[in-house]
Symmetry: D2
Subunit: 297 residues, 4 copies
């Protein structure tokens, strides 16, 4: 992503004037508020507003669970407890607003998370910009047979280059799009020819609980690589707002494991999983490996 001088000036302008406030303020966040973090080839994500911090979480928890919580748990212990048990209500008391530029195919996955507020650039009102996601040849992935969702393995370089050439062709669509816009064709019609790789942008505002839920799904290895790039960057961006909650999220969510009734039983009794379902057994093998219980040959 290269910011235009105009955009750089806008950001500099927004960062030039600080004002006094009585609200909770996260110094670590203030340091990069408004600053654009490049994602993919032309995308970006930046925080443009936020509400609350770690203290807002404990404040909300203490109104729910009573002042007595103060005596028994310090703030960090309380936040970690809340995260461990995925108590949602105190975390919803923080809010973050992002500005994101992203390809349409990523936007289509993203929008499925319905618990956020969105204002998207409208291709009915406005002329779409000439920006397309164009991965480089080594990022062209194979369809995976096992994991039907995506692919981790790179394509052979010949096909990858062929694919990239095709994307070059596709992007030329823009010239014709522009031509018909100038001819006076309705924008809402002209845009239907543009590919899913074209960039759009939006403001996206969400509370911390739902943001963490979004991140846990979209930082997951099963998510498409392109949206994972956004999710990982966003997690780093919000860490300075809620450092304690963010670390607890890693310990109790991102790097946690879920054991089913059958797996608990297998562990407890030292017997195989009580099902012949192949996929379920494969999942159990993966978990055992992570628990250091891989079967001997």
């Amino acid at each position: 992503m290269t910011l235009t001088p105009e955009q750089q000036a806008e950001i500099a302008e927004a960062r030039a004037h600080s004002r006094p406030t009585l609200r909770a303020t996260a110094d670590g966040m203030e340091k990069h508020l408004y600053v654009a973090h490049p994602i993919l080839d032309h995308g970006l994500v930046r925080v443009i507003d936020y509400m609350g911090d770690d203290a807002a979480i404990t404040q909300a928890a203490r109104v729910s669970y009573g002042r007595g919580t103060k005596a028994v748990q310090n703030d960090e212990g309380l936040i970690r407890y809340l995260m461990r048990h995925w108590h949602s209500t105190p975390f919803v008391m923080c809010e973050v607003k992002f500005h994101v530029k992203l390809p349409v195919f990523v936007a289509r996955q993203w929008i499925r998370h319905r618990t956020a507020n969105v204002n998207e650039y409208s291709a009915r009102y406005s002329v779409v910009q000439d920006r397309f996601y164009h991965p480089v040849a080594q990022d062209i992935r194979q369809q995976s047979a096992a994991n039907r969702q995506g692919g981790d393995q790179p394509m052979d370089s010949l096909t990858a280059r062929e694919f990239c050439n095709w994307l070059d062709e596709i992007e030329k669509t823009y010239e014709k799009y522009e031509y018909f816009i100038e001819k006076g064709v309705a924008r809402e019609l002209a845009r239907i020819a543009l590919p899913a790789s074209v960039y759009t942008e939006w403001y996206w505002k969400i509370d911390l609980h739902n943001l963490l839920h979004f991140l846990s799904l979209r930082m997951d290895p099963h998510a498409q690589q392109e949206i994972r790039d956004y999710a990982s960057a966003m997690f780093e961006l919000i860490r300075p707002i809620v450092p304690v909650a963010a670390e607890a999220f890693v310990d109790y969510n991102l790097q946690s494991m879920h054991l089913t009734r059958l797996e608990i039983e297998a562990l407890r009794t030292g017997t195989p999983l009580a099902t012949e379902n192949k996929r379920e057994n494969a999942e159990w093998d993966q978990k055992k490996a992570r628990l250091g219980m891989s079967n001997p040959e």
Copy 2:
């Protein structure tokens, strides 16, 4: 839309076996349950399940407002009263599930209504089908200067034909898409080259209150013509489930008018609107015309 013989057989099969139920049943709906209604060139919408009827609305209203309502108002009067005052809670007690095939650019507008449940065909897991929305030349609309959103006026026929030819070109993208899928490129990547005119499909389930809200926005003349086609068809589809509510919706919502404080004041005193805002005055002129109060000359 031409249904494949396979799809026709599926529908015939679904309609072949009726089962007894103690639930509320809408005979008018049963007559065309599962039946596909063609929209645009390859799209369709059909109702595949429903819950509740007009009586479910009054039943819910009566638990809220007490049995006494029975004495003073008959069912029709009660439903019309609830609709007139846009009381949401009794209407949410009905639910409709649709199956829809629609172009991606329509899906992108549609999904903004967050109060529904969606299961969409996944272009990560599955191969996208070779179906594109391709309006005919006389449906290619001009950008409107006044209404920045869309366009009602047709383009000159020369440009329109040129535009249609362009869409023909765009659709050839599919051959290359198919080629790369066969080569083993990840589906999630290959699909990024497909245009917004490509068809997708989904199940979409929503309660009656939110459905009516969706319809009031998407049957509006300011909505894009293509989504209006879906919305209008859906309204006709659900009428037999809730005939009384549907008629009340026309009288009290679709064909209603909103007067602002300034407009009320203008009407009351017979004076011009107390603002020089051009757009607001233009809106007032339109309303006056509808009220039969157009200014002479």
Copy 3:
């Protein structure tokens, strides 16, 4: 409401330290951030955090509707346009967090608005405080025959005083509650004897669009007086955050009028309403009176 010295100290402490921020800041709001506004006899409402201002609304609208909007409309004109057409998405980009003390029967009405985040004081974890809503005798209202919801007319003073005496009796329940808590009865059980007049408290966080929707319903004359007191105070509290949007809300929502298809037809043709429904005719009479079109004798 009398704040305890401890609570006053907490507020003073929160207001003592301002910090620099790069975020949008509403000076008018900062002046009374955290300050408690008394409602009813022991209730309060105060803003404890906020995100965004009028400029955040136009910023969001402009990403949706394109930069071109800047040319044709100034900020005020744009906000008023958005409000006039009840465009929700730009207003959701502002957020407000309240701290509220309120009787349980008010909380029960309030919580029905599901589009907000809530952290309520828990009567399972904590001991309920000895605070009850106790209206004075002249505020004891009659059941209205016409308006089945509430009552505007005061009761005769004898019954009113009798009613107040009853409330005095009811409040003595607290002594027994306290007694059983001390005896060790589970809080979750002891509280079931407490009346709906007992006070609870919560943090309540909501975006501006949904807040305005809440206010339009709860500032309405049909809402119960006690919740109207909260809603009216909250509207005054948030005015300094979004002064332009707040004024537009008055003009285009609070003091607006909705005309049905039948009413439009009656106005246009100068004929009576095409229905014999008494309630609908009574509503039409009220609207006509407001429009200065009362029938002559």
Copy 4:
């Protein structure tokens, strides 16, 4: 709960007439549709409508994940896979509508689940009925020191009886309530003296995914016993609608276990938990016990 003859007649009437439908129908559910299941002393829960069955879940999953899923997984395997990975979207395609009578203090916990539709009996419009939750002496629980939420241990019988006598006193409030209603005091005011043990009723409609989430929280041992009684009964009620999903819910949710990063590490390396937090260590001890890894001693 004793149903009045009138209510019994209503249920018999609703069950008397079956109609043919083309919709998915669950025979096991039809057998007890509308039938009231008693909960607590005067409460009830019953299913009054439903949409979808196990097949609706797989149908929705297959539109998302492609027809290919049919080849590799049978319906049961697919549902179990979806549940194991808590994929929400296919489960939202089923919907259940309940009629519930419940004490107000239970309703207050229940309503916190915001993803459902509710129509509650209004104490502003209607006269509240003379029904109060009154646990018997052996069900009066102690406050637990360890678990700050509730209590499992019974109170000593003397205090328990004293407590029950107090509840008897409290219920006499109803006579005065009725007296003031007859005197003409507004219902919305008279009800503020009624205790949280008074019964209310509502229709509650929710999709299967959110219902299962509600049940997993409210069937949990940490939930208050009274709401657990409702949740457990509801789970049994809906089993015949979605028998496969219900069983998968038991295996993969109700009886599952969550391991944190620290616990995984402790298991893998055979070392103590890398934290001195007492509560976290106590939680780990409980999990180890369940996994058959209790410490010696």
